[in-house]
């Protein structure tokens, strides 16, 4: 059987997925850090080791994401938009609208019934709708990023933020804390500010069919719930939402192999 490797080097985390046919055999996630080449190599080694494979067993490696060009052993690269679309289509075939909340960017992708991208919108100019915003707030509240979601859900009186700007919201949060607001209400307010940026993208592209949320942001249950209530729908989240693009890359890699009859563009080594 043919194994394909998808690697998504994101600005926050790098993810690797090995697929055999249309099934995930192994996956790994590691912080991207400052050296994308090294991270890509490490995360590939880890994902291979988990199922006792070596790179020789992989018929095709496809790299995607912010640092896709930094994966020297990849046979080819693809955009993260098409990888996200392919990945979510395997997990949730009914999804036509995908919201991806990454460390630096959030994006909304419209896909067709075959998992192909129809259109997309990026929020790349502003930290307001990205995971970075959550990190900033987690830092001032002295809590781990994983604590944010459950704490936000416990809020009874969300703080109203006047802007969605991460910089201004940070100082606003500090002032509200000084006035006695609790962390739960701050977080719920931040989730609301973020969700409104993201919902704005969804509204611009048009909400069609089932909607899924992926990326690190999808692991924040407070954010996901807020998006649900702002959109007034239930959204789907994959079991591990961070690996969606890497999964898509592996699936696209398999497709390339079947199109080219298994002929690798070039032999590359880790």
């Amino acid at each position: 059987m043919a194994y394909a490797l998808g690697i998504d080097v994101g600005s926050g985390y790098s993810k690797a997925v090995i697929c055999e046919d249309k099934a995930i055999r192994s996956y790994a996630i590691a912080p991207s850090g400052g050296n994308y080449q090294e991270t890509a190599r490490n995360v590939a080694e880890e994902v291979l080791k988990k199922i006792n494979l070596t790179l020789e067993d992989i018929c095709f490696t496809l790299a995607t994401g912010y640092g896709a060009a930094m994966v020297p052993f990849a046979n080819s690269t693809a955009t993260d938009i098409s990888c996200h679309a392919a990945g979510i289509h395997l997990v949730f075939p009914s999804v036509r609208t995908l919201i991806d909340i990454g460390a630096q960017f959030s994006k909304v992708i419209r896909l067709d019934d075959a998992g192909r991208t129809l259109s997309f919108l990026l929020n790349e100019k502003c930290a307001g709708g990205s995971g970075k915003f959550l990190q900033v707030i987690a830092r001032i509240l002295h809590m781990g990023i994983d604590e944010i979601g459950p704490r936000s859900l416990a809020s009874s009186n969300p703080v109203q933020f006047t802007t969605g700007c991460a910089v201004f919201a940070e100082s606003e949060a500090v002032s509200r804390i000084a006035e006695g607001a609790c962390a739960e209400d701050i977080l719920a307010g931040i989730h609301k500010a973020m969700a409104s940026k993201i919902v704005n993208l969804v509204t611009r592209i048009g909400l069609v069919g089932a909607c899924a949320v992926t990326g690190g942001g999808a692991k924040d249950v407070g954010l996901v719930k807020t998006i649900e209530s702002e959109l007034n729908i239930e959204v789907l989240t994959p079991h591990d939402p961070q690996i969606t693009a890497a999964l898509g890359a592996a699936l696209l890699a398999l497709r390339m192999v079947s199109l080219n009859g298994g002929d690798k563009e070039s032999e590359k080594r880790i």
């Binding site: 630096q104 100019k125 502003c126 930290a127 307001g128 970075k132 915003f133 900033v136 802007t163 969605g164 700007c165 991460a166 910089v167 201004f168 002032s175 000084a178």
Partner: protein, 284 residues
């Protein structure tokens, strides 16, 4: 009954970063600038007390007081509140009568104001995004470990301008830090960030039908690097008042004087707030 000569009027401008007080009679009598803290009321009292001291006046010597700026509702002793847009127009017109457009660059917002005879005819404003405001420069200066007031001089000494790709303050901060680590000269980076701010402000102000002369006010006007970058973007020279931070407070004081004198001419009496200065202390 007082004669007109010893009537004093005050303007208090509570900005997001700085609090300014100006006292006028026939001319400028006192002006004080202090940082805005979390407790606006106490600070307004404190800065006012200082201004009165400079002018050798007591609070009761003030005939009418107007508060302006983002914290204007937090000045209990003010008799009236007027928006900073109106006050900037009034204040700047008295300083630079040829100006038709004002660019005010504050600590947390920036504005473009078109004026005619000291009155506002149109304005644009950004207080929703830190890019294009003083806050952007403050954060980047901090990331580059350059004192904010040294940023301008450093940037005009640059041999080239390093382009900054990111608009967002958060991302631009990461960008300059990694550029610096990659060996990009500090001066070129500071020139780049001033150009980035200038680009944002220019795009915003260009939504107005700009008429020359154009004046720059607010804390941003004290930054020579930013003023030069704006001049380069606009393609013409900009006017900068001698004390660019005081324009709003001066305008408020002049408005106080005008309102009072107009009422007085009609034989009317303006309502006073009745609140005096509290025991002023910066700390609770």
């Amino acid at each position: 009954m007082r004669t007109e000569m010893n009537q004093y009027f005050a303007g208090v401008d509570i900005g997001s970063t700085m609090t300014k007080v100006v006292i006028v009679n026939e001319g400028l009598r006192a002006s004080v600038v202090g940082p805005t803290g979390p407790e606006h009321r106490k600070l307004a009292d404190k800065v006012m007390e200082e201004a009165l001291e400079h002018a050798h006046l007591a609070f009761d010597d003030l005939t009418y007081i107007i508060a302006t700026g983002y914290g204007r509702i937090n000045v209990p002793f003010a008799d009236k509140q007027i928006t900073e847009i109106t006050c900037h127009a009034k204040g700047l017109h008295s300083l630079l009568p040829t100006a038709r457009t004002i660019i005010d660059i504050g600590g947390q917002d920036s504005k473009g104001i078109r004026i005619k005879n000291g009155k506002v005819i149109d304005f644009v404003m950004n207080d929703k995004c830190a890019a294009g405001t003083g806050r952007f420069l403050e954060i980047i200066a901090d990331a580059l470990n350059v004192p904010l007031d040294a940023l301008g001089a450093l940037s005009v000494s640059a041999e080239k301008v390093t382009p900054i790709a990111n608009t967002c303050t958060v991302f631009a901060e990461q960008e300059v830090v990694s550029q610096l680590a990659n060996g990009e000269p500090l001066a070129s980076l500071t020139a780049g960030i001033h150009d980035a701010v200038a680009a944002r402000i220019c795009a915003m102000v260009n939504k107005l039908k700009i008429e020359q002369d154009v004046a720059v006010t607010g804390g941003g006007a004290k930054n020579i690097g930013l003023v030069k970058a704006l001049e380069k973007r606009f393609g013409f020279a900009l006017l900068v008042p001698h004390e660019p931070l005081l324009t709003g407070a001066l305008g408020a004081a002049l408005m106080a004087k005008e309102l009072f004198q107009n009422a007085w001419a009609k034989g009317e009496k303006l309502k006073r707030s009745g609140e005096g200065l509290k025991e002023a202390s910066l700390f609770l």
